[in-house]
Symmetry: C2
Subunit: 501 residues, 2 copies
């Protein structure tokens, strides 16, 4: 068995090397690659992607996983070896159960659909892309049907990014959240809107970057095992547990852009840098789910980085960095500006309070499409209807409506959105547990100290990598299932101090 | 046949993708990778290297090459398809004739020898590394013996970097060069040494980089298909013909460092950017040999970039960029400084006149070691003897003697050095032919115009990629074999104007 486990690990290391190389090809493409490199880079990414898939779906891996089952069952569930075999088997099944023909057909379709979307959106032409979207829906159902035995047709699709989560339970959780959020948004937006103008002055790029770097270094982001570069759409990526990089973009006329995207991506990176080094090169060396990953970016961006205590410490330093822009702006004005709540049509512009409404609209529509209770032709109107009922807004056209996000046009329908809101819900749950263990964390944050929080997160969340599913991890940390209570309490407390709720 | 050729090309594209990915892994390691990424990066490079080797040595490629032989023979020698098959076959034989066991044993040995060298050199301890070097010599002979039928045992090793070049003819060429160079060096170094102090003031990094970039842009280096980054040991690399990057290093107290290494690497890059785009992804998309590649770096660095005409145009601009440092320094003083000749012990510090003496010493010693006319134990003394006779200098120890260069300690013995001097010789030959075709090139250079020269080089050298060997290319361009005449004429003219010769 030792021999077979070693053989499995060797094969997984090779797959991992290829996956990490794919990540580097992508990072370079998004940061430094000159325009002339684009065509060949596309081919290189396709070649490496294909080799990684070939190597991972090698029937020998399936055979090894079968042979190792008795060994796995002889070990504790949470042992490293049992977890490696279990998590690898789940991925292996996901990678092998979809027929190669379906994978390649869908892949070709996606590329076409994406291209069509890049034209349809500026033209506000849903009709042009409707046949593509109908085909995408058909493929999405076919993919789900490769995993029979589901409770809801979206379950297998959700499982790809949020392992073990089910459509029905997420829907119930989201319904509860929506019920509580909609009136809060209504109450807040009926009040005077905060003045955000202090953020929109001229802020030189270098000082912005230096300020963000200094903060994430204090957070615990290790620049010896990472770095920060410029890009158009910020992301976190890793090439090994020792090389976890973040990217950012700077707007000289918007201080919040680089600052909060830096804190956000650093949150993702702290998670990856905190994974147990012994998982290096295996499927355990990653986050538990897209939701758990997002919980960490949101925790460091919002629960820490947009808190009053945090800025009680950092605002004087920010004023020193930008004296002309901020010396006359009181902390309270700045704090209100970075926590300004306003209803908007665009998900990516949304604030902490309204953001989840955007996400849940998309999640619900995805489920209805997959269930067949909503036809693609009726999607634009369904979108407008939900924006009207949840946010009290209606987009003028489909450009800012159903054509807004790339997700459905560059991938399948189902499982693409729930992670954002699950992440917000979990961020408060984890933060709450950290506070229970260390009630002095808020005081430390007011002193610009993050060690206790960071250490607690490493020990309770990060180190495990993807050993546990999100639900297992939440049970382990909180002793119960996922609940919106800590999140709603967080929102009510924070925004209750800013607005009459 | 069409089908088989297409199949061959597809397989070669895959190998090429992997090789380009290796180049990216290496570039990132040398430019941006944080220290924590090192361990995993080593494994990733090994994995990609192994896959590239496996894919290229696939017996199916051998079979396709055999099957395509009649097709190849039906085509003109210089046709694209015949050249692709011919050049691929040569590489395939090089890659398949060395037994896998020997490759892996030698690879392990090299890693150990390199590690030992990194300790032996600072300790000035040749004795410690002698057994490693003896083993390296043994491996080098074994590798050469995988290619029976050679005239000289070094021929197969030279062939890896300078295809078609033979030890005996290089030795004859070098003997002639040495005979002419040694007295010139003696004559020059007996005269007053030029004052180089103007180069050693404080030159801010950003202005240095901006100045170098502006020049290579004028040379014709296309920043839409390349870029420049910082590194420790400058190099050129490419990820496709549309993405040819250079790297440089800046010393604030030495203006010549970044400037001339930029011109040097840009020369390599101009070559790669000038290769016919239709060779993309095949073995034809590279330089003809290490010598021809070096000829282009040297041509743009020295024959153009250290010429009086060039600085007649650029020196006033350099003075504007660095007024405090250079406004009081006459052009003549600057020109003498960048062309200062002095005898030194270190190859990489050498000037245009003495550089080849360093290279030829190493080349001759390599041949003697391989022939068995020099024992490894006698190498340090042989080194000192040749430095005494050729340069009139003797190093105080082996640190600046036989332990100076990494080449023998990180690779095999044989074929590592000749390309540097072949490159210098060829640089003058190609430049000479360009001048014959366009006698106004020197006048254009005085005006900061390089189009005519660049276009001639693209048409006569660059576009061909590795379709022709160095000797074939020289024959094609000059109508005769490689000769030192143009090079010696260049050196005598240039340095005759600076010194009494």
């Amino acid at each position: 068995m030792e021999h077979k486990l070693k053989r499995l690990k060797n094969k997984l290391h090779e797959v991992n090397d290829l996956n990490m190389v794919s990540a580097l090809l992508n990072w370079d493409q998004s940061t430094y690659m000159p325009p002339g490199g684009a065509a060949a880079r596309g081919r290189q990414m396709a070649t490496i992607g294909r080799l990684a898939h070939e190597k991972f779906t090698d029937p020998e891996i399936g055979k090894l996983l079968d042979d190792l089952r008795p060994f796995e069952e002889s070990l504790p569930y949470d042992s490293d070896d049992a977890s490696l075999i279990r998590v690898t088997r789940r991925s292996y099944e996901k990678s092998t159960k979809i027929p190669a023909k379906l994978v390649s057909e869908f892949s070709a379709h996606r590329a076409g659909a994406y291209q069509a979307w890049t034209k349809a959106r500026p033209n506000n032409d849903f009709t042009a892309i409707r046949p593509n979207l109908e085909k995408t829906l058909d493929y999405s159902r076919q993919i789900a049907d490769c995993f029979p035995g589901y409770d809801h047709i979206a379950d297998p699709l959700i499982d790809f990014s949020d392992e073990g989560m089910k459509a029905d339970s997420i829907r119930a959780l989201f319904a509860e959240l929506r019920q509580q959020l909609v009136p809060i948004v209504q109450t807040i937006t009926a009040q005077e809107i905060a003045d955000g103008s202090c953020l929109h002055q001229s802020y030189p790029t270098d000082q912005q970057l230096a300020f963000g770097s200094a903060i994430i270094k204090r957070y615990g982001y290790d620049f010896e095992r990472g770095r920060q570069d410029m890009t158009h759409h910020p992301f976190m990526t890793k090439f090994s547990l020792g090389d976890v990089r973040i990217t950012t973009r700077v707007k000289e006329d918007d201080l919040s852009e680089a600052l909060f995207s830096t804190l956000h991506e650093a949150g993702h990176a702290l998670y990856e840098q905190g994974i147990n080094q012994k998982f290096e090169g295996t499927p355990l060396a990653g986050g538990a789910s897209s939701g758990v990953h997002e919980s960490q970016s949101r925790l460091w961006e919002n629960l820490v980085g947009r808190s009053r205590g945090f800025w009680a410490h950092y605002y004087p330093q920010l004023q020193i960095a930008f004296p002309e822009q901020l010396s006359h702006v009181p902390l309270d004005t700045f704090y209100r500006a970075i926590n300004r709540v306003s209803r908007s049509l665009i998900r990516t512009d949304a604030d902490e309070v309204t953001y989840n409404l955007h996400v849940m609209i998309r999640f619900d529509l995805e489920l209805q499409l997959l269930e067949g209770t909503l036809a693609v032709k009726d999607l634009p109107e369904a979108w407008h209807g939900r924006y009207q009922s949840d946010l009290g807004l209606r987009a003028l056209d489909d450009r800012d409506g159903v054509l807004q996000d790339v997700h459905w046009f560059g991938g399948w329908i189902g499982g693409a959105f729930q992670g954002y809101t699950l992440g917000n819900i979990m961020s408060a749950l984890f933060f709450d547990e950290a506070l229970k263990a260390h009630p002095d964390i808020p005081v430390q944050i007011e002193q610009g100290k993050f060690d206790t929080l960071h250490t607690w997160l490493k020990e309770n969340v990060y180190q495990h990598g993807s050993k546990f599913t999100a639900n297992e991890l939440i049970e382990l940390v909180s002793g119960g299932p996922l609940t919106i209570e800590p999140y709603m309490r967080y929102l009510r407390t924070k925004f209750g101090a800013l607005y009459s709720l």
